[in-house]
């Protein structure tokens, strides 16, 4: 770990001022300190947000919930309203990491979790995300955990988290405080970026901008599922994950909202899939079409080729379950 100046702002605007170039905010620290020890992250200043009033889960005027940025993953998953009205979110959080890590990790921090790409993690290997212009070690290298959707010649990393996949299915929004003192809201579906030729930017946050909360829309009825496929039964990142919210109207699918993890540089949401399913009678043929849409343009990199059939099959399992079909 490089030496850094440890700062503890006494207010949100103060935090914004401290978050100048070369500074990093820290909340739970579970990802940042991991990366700082490896010197993947080398901040000059560490701005500890933990004293800021960014906790609490409150009801919104619109009938949804607002989760403070500093609410721990554990507290979020344990909240009775979330368990009752947003089970996909509770399930996604509980599918990630461990109790210890979830006790530390925060809502805001988790959204900013960085990729687990092997080459990003190894400072002796090329990585355009870590060191723009150095190349991508994963292309032509080992890429079992890498992206099959939305990747670029510069980067094939995935966003590794679970929580944000559920938030994308729920169409939640991220609230931020910008350096200028204003707040801004960004849909979770647009918060993370595709790598393009600037993979060093994981998301749309600007310098000095701090996540202050996440807003969930009013609860929707229907079945909420989070399905995570991984290499061991717990404490492993997703190979493929799917958050699904499916409401049936009689025999037909009334509405569907699906988001996918482990496939891309961001939680993957394709509105065409939701639109395709809405109003249709559930059938394997329909689910196959949904998979076709999802995997249109999917590209394997060698060791992750299997994610293409795996995503298709996992989607079939999720849609059958969500629409009441037999396994």
């Amino acid at each position: 770990m490089r030496p850094f100046q440890y700062l503890r702002p006494d207010g949100l605007d103060h935090a914004g001022q401290q978050l100048i170039d070369g500074a990093r905010p820290i909340a739970g620290g579970t990802n940042l300190l991991d990366l700082m020890k490896l010197e993947v992250e080398t901040p000059d200043q560490l701005v500890d947000l933990n004293q800021l009033p960014l906790g609490g889960i409150d009801e919104t005027d619109a009938g949804g919930l607002r989760i403070g940025a500093l609410v721990s993953n554990s507290a979020c998953a344990a909240d009775p309203r979330i368990r009752r009205d947003y089970p996909v979110l509770a399930r996604a959080i509980l599918a990630g990491a461990t109790f210890q890590l979830r006790n530390m990790a925060t809502t805001g921090g988790n959204l900013c979790q960085r990729t687990r790409c092997y080459y990003f993690y190894n400072i002796d290997q090329p990585c355009n995300k870590r060191e723009p212009g150095s190349g991508c070690g994963a292309i032509g290298g080992e890429n079992r955990i890498h992206a099959i959707l939305g990747a670029s010649d510069a980067c094939i990393a995935t966003y590794p988290g679970d929580m944000a996949v559920a938030l994308a299915a729920l169409d939640a929004t991220v609230q931020t405080e910008t350096l200028k003192g204003g707040t801004r809201t960004v849909p979770v579906r647009e918060f993370h970026r595709l790598p393009g030729d600037t993979p060093e930017k994981d998301n749309v946050l600007e310098d000095g901008e701090v996540i202050i909360g996440v807003v969930l829309p009013p609860p929707v009825s229907g079945k909420q599922l989070y399905r995570k496929v991984r290499d061991r039964s717990s404490y492993a990142f997703a190979l493929v994950s799917i958050a699904a919210i499916v409401r049936m109207e009689g025999e037909a699918i009334g509405s569907a909202s699906l988001a996918f993890g482990g496939l891309a540089h961001k939680p993957w949401h394709d509105p065409r899939i939701d639109a395709l399913l809405a109003g249709q009678l559930p059938s394997d043929a329909l689910f196959d079409q949904a998979a076709d849409l999802l995997l249109e343009g999917a590209e394997g990199q060698g060791s992750n080729d299997f994610k293409i059939p795996l995503a298709r099959r996992t989607l079939l399992a999720v849609l059958r379950e969500a629409t009441g079909g037999a396994a």
């Binding site: 010197e39 290298g141 061991r232 404490y235 492993a236 099959r313």
Partner: protein
Amino acid sequence: MTRSLIMDKPDDRNRLDAMAQGVIGQPLDRPDGPAKVTGVAPYAAEYSIANRAEGVLVTATISAGEVTDIDEQSVLSMPGVIAVISDQRMTARAAQGGAGKAPVQQVRHVQYYGQPIAVVIAETFEQARDAAKHLKVSYRAGDAITDHHDPDIPTDPYQDPIDQGDLAHAMKQAAHAVDVTYTTECHNSAPMEPHASIAEWDGKTLTLHSSLQMLAFNRKELADSLNLELEQVRLVSPYVGGGFGSKLGISPEGVAASVAAMQLNRPVRVVMLRQQVFQCVMRRSETVQRLRLAADAEGRLIGFGHEARVSNLPEEKFGEPVTQASEFLYPGENRRLAIEIARINLVTAGSVRAPGEAVGMQALEAAMDELANAIGIDPVELRLRNIPERHPSEDIPYSSRKLIECLKIGAERFGWDGADRRPRKRREGEWWIGTGMANACRVHNINEAQARVSLLADGTAVVASDMTDIGTGTYAVLGQIAGEMLGLDSTDVLVQLGDTTFPPGSGSGGSWGAASTGSAVFEACEAIREHLAEQLGTTEAELTLKDGFAIAGNRRVALPDLLNGSAIERNGHFKPGDITKAYAAAMYGAFFAEVAVNAYTGETRMRRFSGAFGLGRVLNRKTATSQCMGGMVWGIGSALTEELTFDARDGHIVNPDLAEYHIPVNLDVPHLDVVLVEERDPAASPLQAKGVGELGICGAAGAICNAIYHACGVRVRSFPMTPDKLLAELPVP
């Protein structure tokens, strides 16, 4: 005084059963347990030593070549940095188990990516780690072979192959034949305690607190590395946070800490970063294994072939002994067993828990399942029909072998139904359910060992040896052996281990620890018994020791009275002799597994897992059971999750951490049902005990492979059996 035994023939006296105390075999708690659960047991890095400096290793970022320059100035001005050391005495690799001399040193001559090349010493750990990352190193890269999956890498024979009869002909003649190739990937031992050392140098003597398995050997390795006399080196390892082979030999951080302490004249601690444990200790070699099994109409093997390709660095003598158990487990007069070794530039291949059988047995037992399916018989029955009378190549007898009992008892406990082995017969929701079984087999090893037993004037005893307890239960079992022999409650026996000031034990490895060092303790106790018998005016055979009393005929004297104020101290010295050549001695068992395979995703979950094992005399039922369970967990890892992945372009490990190298977690492991089959093996040791620590892994993954096939009909011949490997052949539900 020392009593020695060179074991040339079986010890049928069965002395331990003739004793009266009744502690041997009992499932006693470990005496070291309370210190472990309260956190006061000191591990290598935990000695508080004044003025201690901290070191962090620097490792190579090329696959092969020369270090042309290490720019010390690039870090010496950083706060707290004391020195950069890249000394010719430092070691580039860990020593192989039992080497007893320095491993490859030349740290500036790079032969694998991740090789230690220097150590940075600073006042604090954070300063040292940061400086290690900043150190500027220049290289001249050389040619390297880094793709271990490349089938075209030239190989050399490893050991002389066994060729008997005509296997190719037998395959043609066979009523049923299987000719299949299985592969396994590289593994890492990944003990929970990273390799750690603190070195202290007083100008004459070096003391190294280190996490090591075989101190008597490690002492020689360290002395040789540093050009010191043996007497100048003391190693201290009373608690070892797991080893599994990775701490058999002196490891680079221990030598680096020593060199630094001697150069700086202050204590130095070097602890490997977790990534370095992966990068520069030991890997288990990957294997490619061709199995040819030729059976007659009844399923009796007439031909048996097991050929493997493994790899290692140039100059390393070790080759994964894949066919070790295959040499004697099954019959077949037409045989070919051979191992070829490819020389590659990847981290040293060495012993990882149950070298040979861990991967050899899982492939063999999966192939046997394929044979059973080809014949259409119960795989348990196939095993029962293939138990040779004598060693098929060496024509020597087997020592005690409880394979039949293990198969029958294990099958019964599990509720094995071998009648219909057709796959895809049982489905629960999304999950295909299946069962599978496998034989367990692991050679029995014994090593030279010494121990000292003191019967103190107060009637309590002290056992001392530089033997280690790496989680194996050595503290418990040595105390029970001495307690049984001397008629003491085991709480009246203090066991002191892990210090080279004590007599040299066998060290922990190859499952030989308890049988070897235990036999040395046994010998010392026999000598004490002889002395006590003499004091009491009787013979050793007539002497009964129980509850602190010496009893002969109608005389019953408390030990303190008999000792009359003076202690008795005896050394025991045990040496394997002709016995190792006279018998094929091994541990046997049987695994039974039930798995669920997700029909959509190919994920496998263990539902039930049983093992029945014959290990000779069980010295402590509790710790022996735990060892077997541990092996089975390794079997689950080997079957389903563990794979050290290398980038073929430069040979660097892409998953050198516990996030991406997946050792099983608690949820991966079902309740483990272990049964220890009663056995005494007089040819194994004077204790009639064999090895315990490795058998539980040897074949375990084969049972899981067979269960997966039975569940879903996919025969995966590539371990680990991750979801991607099942998907290709798994029908969409």
